[in-house]
Amino acid sequence: MGEVIYSAKPLWAVLVSMGAAFLILLTGEKARNLRESWTILAALIKFGLVFSLIKPVLAGKTIEYTLITLLPGVALQFRVDAFGLLFGVVAATLWIPTSFYSIGYVRTLNEHGQSRYFFSFAMCLSAAIGVAFAGNLLTLLIFYEILTIATWPLVIHHEDTSAIAGGRKYLVYTLTAGCILLLAIGITYSLAGTLDFVGGGFLAGHGSPGLLILLLTLFIAGFGVKAGIMPFHEWLPSAMVAPTPVSALLHAVAVVKAGVFGCVRVILFVFGPELLQQLGVWTILAGVVAFTVVAAGLLALGQDHLKRRLAFSTINNLALIILGVSLLSKNAMTGGILHIANHAFMKITLFFCAGAIYAKTHKDHVSQLDGLGRQMPFTFAAFAIASMGLCGLPPVNGFISKWFLCLGAVETHQIVFLFVILTSAMLDVAFFFPIIYNGFFKKPLPDVAGKVDEAPLLMVLPLCFTALFSVVFGIFPNAFLNFFNIVRLAVTNVLGG
C-alpha cells in the first residue's frame, strides 16, 4: 500500500477539538465571545491539519500514528488512507461553516446551556475525526462509542418531554448497536487475531461461511443503526428534536456518516469484495438497503415537519451509499463513496436552510412555507440548489455520484438496482420540488413579510457557502479538496490495480 509516514498529525487533528471542548467548558457562559472563538479556532486548526494530509495521501502514502497498545496485536492506532481521509476532510471542512452557523443560531434563539452545546459539539467532531482516521476496528469502536455519548446531550438539548424521549430512543438504539459491534469485533479478533484494516479485507480464509455471514449481519446491524438502515432507522427522525445545527452537521454528516463509514469499512476493508462475492451475500445486503432507499423515500413524502422530511431523505441517501458499495463494482463503489462527500454538502445546506427559516420565522412545517421564498430569497435559493443536487440534476454535485451509481448498477447487470436508484431520484423530486415551488410561487401566508428579511448573516453566509460549493464540486469534482481523486484512490486501494 505504498509508503508509510509516521506522524502525529492525525492524533492532533483528533485532540484539537477535544482540547477546545475543555477550554469551552472552562470558559463557560460568562465570556461568550472567548468561548466561541475557541470553537472557531479549533475548527480552523483542525481543517488545516486535515488539509495538510491530502497531499501525501494522494501521493500514495499512508500516515500512521500508534499511540498505545491495547491488546496483543491491536493498538490505539491512527492510519490515514484515502477512504478515511475523505470522511475526515468532509467533517473537518463542514465544521467551519457549522461553527459560524451555530453561533448565529444559538444567539438568535437565545438558547440555554450553550456551553454544554459547544462542548458536546467539539467532542463529536473529535470523535468523528477519530472514526475517520482509525487504523483498526477497535480504535474505530472506541471513537464510535465516544461519538454516541457525545451526541446525546445535543439530542436532549431542549430538555422537554419529546427531547428526552428522543434521547432515550437514541441511546437505546445506539448503545445496543455498540454492544452488537463489540460482539462482532470480538468474534473477528478471535477468528483473525488482528483488527487492522486492509484494503480488500483480511477475513478471507478465516471461519466457516455461516459464521462469516452471521458476523457480517452483526456488523451491518451494529453500524447500520447509526446509518439508519431500515429497520434500525427509527431513532433518526426522533432525534430531529435537536437544535438544527446539530441535525445539520451530526445527522447529515458526522454521526450518520460514521455509521455509513463503518459499514463501508467493514464491507471493503474487513470482509473485502472477493470474500463477499464468494459468500454470495452481497445481493441480500444490496436488497435490504435498496428496500430502505425506496421505503425511506416514500415515508419522506408523508412528512409535514420539514426536518423529519429531511431526516427520511437522509436515510434514503445513506442507504444509497451503502447500496453503491455493496454492489461491489468499481463504478458503483466510486459513486457510493463520492456520495458520502456530496450528500454531506447538500444535506447540510438543506438543514441550514431549515434552521434559518425556523430561527427567523419559527416555522418548521412544510405546509407553513408558502411564499416564504420572497422573504428569504437566499435561503430558498440555496435550498433549491441543494435539492436539485439530491434529485441528481446537473450541475450540482449529486449528479456525479448518482451517475456513477447508475453506471455501477448497469455494470453488475442488476437492472433492479438501476431502477431503485432512478426511483429514488424521482421520489426526491416529488418531495423536494413542492417545497421550492410553494416557497417561490405560492401566495404568501399572511404573516410573511413582503420584503426581503433574511436570517442573521452568521446563518445565511454559511448556507450560501455550502450551496455554492455543492455547485462547484458538481462542475469541478477535483476542486480544492480533490474529492474525486481521493475516491478513485480509495477504490483502487480496495480493488487493487
Binding site: I68, L71, H158, E159, T161, I164, L183
Partner: protein, 499 residues
C-alpha cells in the same frame, strides 16, 4: 530496607493501628494526618515491590527467618504485587476521604475509627501477601472483624445488617478453615507453594475434593457470589459512607483474588479443567449473579443500594472471567478486579460527597445536582460511562477481555449475559444522569429555564472529598488506555502458562 519490604507492608499499618488510639487520645485531630502518614509506608512498599517483581520476578520473604514449609512465608508474585498496589492506593484515597465524613459520622470517636480503618487495610494486605493458608485465615478475620465494627456503626439498619454479615461471614471463614483442615489432613502442610507441589498426586482424594469445595464456598461467601450475596446489599448500604468507600471496593476483590489463588496456584488449572466441574458451576452462578444483580439494581431507587446490587453483578463478571478457563477470560477477570475496584471507589466517594452535603440518595433527589456539585457529577458521569462499558473508560477494556474469553470458550449465553448487562447498566445510570443534568420537563413546558427556575447555590465539597473523587475519576480514564500496558507487564505473568 528494600529486603524488608514485604514485612513492612504488614507491620507498618499494624503498628500504626496499635498506636492510633494513643495518638487519638492525646489529640483526636492528629489521628487523620497520622493515618495518612502511616499509609504512605505500605503505599511506597507496595509500589516498590511491584517494580521489583516486574524487574526480577516473584520473590518470597521468610518471616523470622524460618524456611517456608515450617515458618510463614510472604510471597509476592505478579498478582499479589498488583493487588497490594490496588489495596494501598484505594486505601489511601479512602483515608483522605474519611476526614470530613468520618469526623461527622464518628464524632468523638475518630481514634477508634481510624484504628479499625488501618486494621481493615492491614487485613486486606495480609490476605494478599501471605503464602500460608492459615495466615490467610487470620488476616481474613482481622479484616472481617474490623469490617463488622465499622459497618455496625452506620445508619438505622446497620446493626442488624452487620449481625447477618457476622453470621454469614463467620460461616464463610469457618468453611475456609475447614478447607484448610481437610487439606492439612491430606498433606500435612499449610504453605501454598508446598501444597501446590504435594496436591497433584492427591487430586482424586475425597478429602481434597471436600476441602476444595469448602474453600470455594467460603471464599464465595466473602466475595458475595450469588446466591451467597444475601448479606452484601444490606451491609454496604447501611454502612457509614466513609466505611463503604473502603470496604465495598476491596472486600469482594480480595476474595476474588483468593479464588484465583485457590483455583490456579494452590490447585493447578487442570484440577478445575479435568477433575471437578467447578468452572461450569461458577460460570452459571456468574450468569445468575449478573442477571439477578442487574434486575435487582433496576428495582432500587436508593442509589447506594442500587450500587450494591451492581456489585453483585460485577462479582459475577469476575467469576465469569475465571470460569471460562482461558487466557482472555482470566486476563479480563484480573483486569476487572482492578477496574471494578476503582469504579466502585469512585461511586462510593461520589455517594459519600452527596450524602455529606445533605442530599438524599433517592433518584429524585438528584434533580439539579449537576448545578450544585458539578465536579462530583462529572466524576459520576465518568464512572457511569465506565460501568456501561463505553471507551475509553476502563470498564470497556475488562469487558472486552471477558467477552473475548466467552467467545473463545464458545459460551454464547455468557456473552449474551455480559452484553445485556452493560445495557442494563446504561439504563441504571442514564436515568440518574438525566435526572441530574436535565431540568424537569414540567419546568421546561412551563417556560421556566432551569437557570431561572431555581436559584442554585453550589455546594462546597471539602477538599478532602473532592480530591479523591477527581483522582479516582482520572484513574478510571487513565486505566483504560493503559490496560494494554498493564496486561503486558503484569497480568500476563499472573495467568497460568497453560492457558
Amino acid at each position: 530496607m528494600s529486603d524488608q519490604l514485604p514485612a513492612l507492608i504488614i507491620v507498618a499499618p499494624l503498628l500504626g493501628a496499635f498506636l492510633t488510639p494513643i495518638i487519638g487520645w492525646w489529640n483526636r485531630h492528629l489521628s487523620h494526618p497520622w493515618v495518612l502518614m502511616v499509609l504512605t509506608i505500605p503505599l511506597y512498599a507496595a509500589y516498590s515491590s511491584l517494580f521489583k517483581v516486574i524487574k526480577n520476578g516473584p520473590f518470597g520473604y521468610n518471616l523470622g527467618g524460618w524456611a517456608p514449609p515450617w515458618g510463614i512465608e510472604y510471597r509476592i508474585d505478579y498478582l499479589s504485587a498488583m493487588m497490594l498496589v490496588l489495596i494501598t492506593t484505594i486505601g489511601f484515597l479512602a483515608a483522605i476521604n474519611a476526614k470530613s465524613a468520618g469526623n461527622t459520622e464518628f464524632k468523638g470517636k475518630e481514634a477508634q475509627f481510624y484504628t479499625l480503618f488501618l486494621l481493615q487495610i492491614t487485613g486486606f494486605l495480609g490476605i494478599v501477601i501471605t503464602g500460608d493458608l492459615f495466615n490467610v485465615f487470620v488476616f481474613l478475620e482481622i479484616s472481617s472483624l474490623s469490617g463488622y465494627g465499622l459497618i455496625a456503626h452506620g445508619e438505622e439498619g446497620a446493626p442488624m445488617a452487620t449481625f447477618n454479615y457476622i453470621i454469614i461471614g463467620t460461616i464463610g471463614a469457618s468453611f475456609y478453615l475447614l478447607g484448610v483442615g481437610y487439606l492439612y489432613m491430606a498433606t500435612g502442610s499449610l504453605n501454598i507453594a508446598d501444597l501446590a507441589t504435594l496436591l497433584p498426586a492427591l487430586y482424586h482424594s475425597k478429602m481434597v475434593l471436600v476441602g476444595f469445595a469448602f474453600f470455594t464456598t467460603g471464599v464465595a461467601i466473602k466475595m458475595g457470589l450469588f446466591p451467597l450475596h444475601i448479606w452484601m446489599p444490606d451491609a454496604y448500604t447501611t454502612a457509614p459512607n466513609s466505611v463503604s468507600t473502603l470496604i465495598a471496593p476491596l472486600m469482594t476483590k480480595v476474595a476474588a483474588y483468593l479464588l484465583i489463588r485457590i483455583l490456579f496456584t494452590l490447585f493447578k488449572p487442570d484440577f478445575a479443567l479435568s477433575v471437578v466441574p467447578i468452572a461450569t458451576i461458577l460460570g452459571w452462578l456468574a450468569v445468575a449473579a449478573i442477571v439477578v444483580g442487574g434486575v435487582k439494581a433496576l428495582a432500587q431507587t436508593d442509589i447506594k443500594r442500587m450500587v450494591t446490587y451492581i456489585m453483585v453483578a460485577e462479582v459475577g463478571y469476575i467469576v465469569m472471567g475465571i470460569s471460562v478457563m482461558n487466557r482472555a477470560g482470566l486476563t479480563g477477570a484480573i483486569l476487572h478486579i482492578i477496574n471494578d475496584a476503582c469504579m466502585l471507589l469512585c461511586l462510593f466517594l461520589v455517594i459519600g460527597a452527596i450524602s455529606f452535603k445533605g442530599h438524599g440518595r433517592e433518584i429524585y433527589h438528584f434533580q439539579n445536582l449537576n448545578k450544585k456539585m458539578p465536579l462530583t457529577m462529572a466524576a459520576f458521569v465518568i464512572v457511569a460511562l465506565s460501568m456501561c462499558g463505553i471507551p475509553p473508560a476502563c470498564g470497556f477494556f475488562s469487558k472486552w477481555y471477558l467477552i473475548m474469553g466467552t467467545i473463545v470458550a464458545k459460551q454464547w449465553v455468557f456473552t449474551a449475559t455480559l452484553l445485556a448487562s452493560s445495557l442494563i447498566n446504561a439504563v441504571l445510570f442514564f436515568r440518574i444522569i438525566e435526572k441530574a443534568y436535565l431540568a424537569p420537563p414540567e419546568d421546561v413546558a412551563a417556560g421556566l429555564d432551569h437557570t431561572e427556575a431555581v436559584i442554585i447555590t453550589r455546594d462546597k465539597v471539602p477538599l478532602t472529598m473532592i480530591v479523591p473523587i477527581l483522582i479516582s475519576a482520572a484513574i478510571i480514564l487513565i486505566l483504560g488506555p493503559l490496560s494494554g500496558k498493564i496486561i503486558e507487564t503484569v497480568i500476563q505473568h499472573a495467568v497460568p502458562a497453560i492457558f
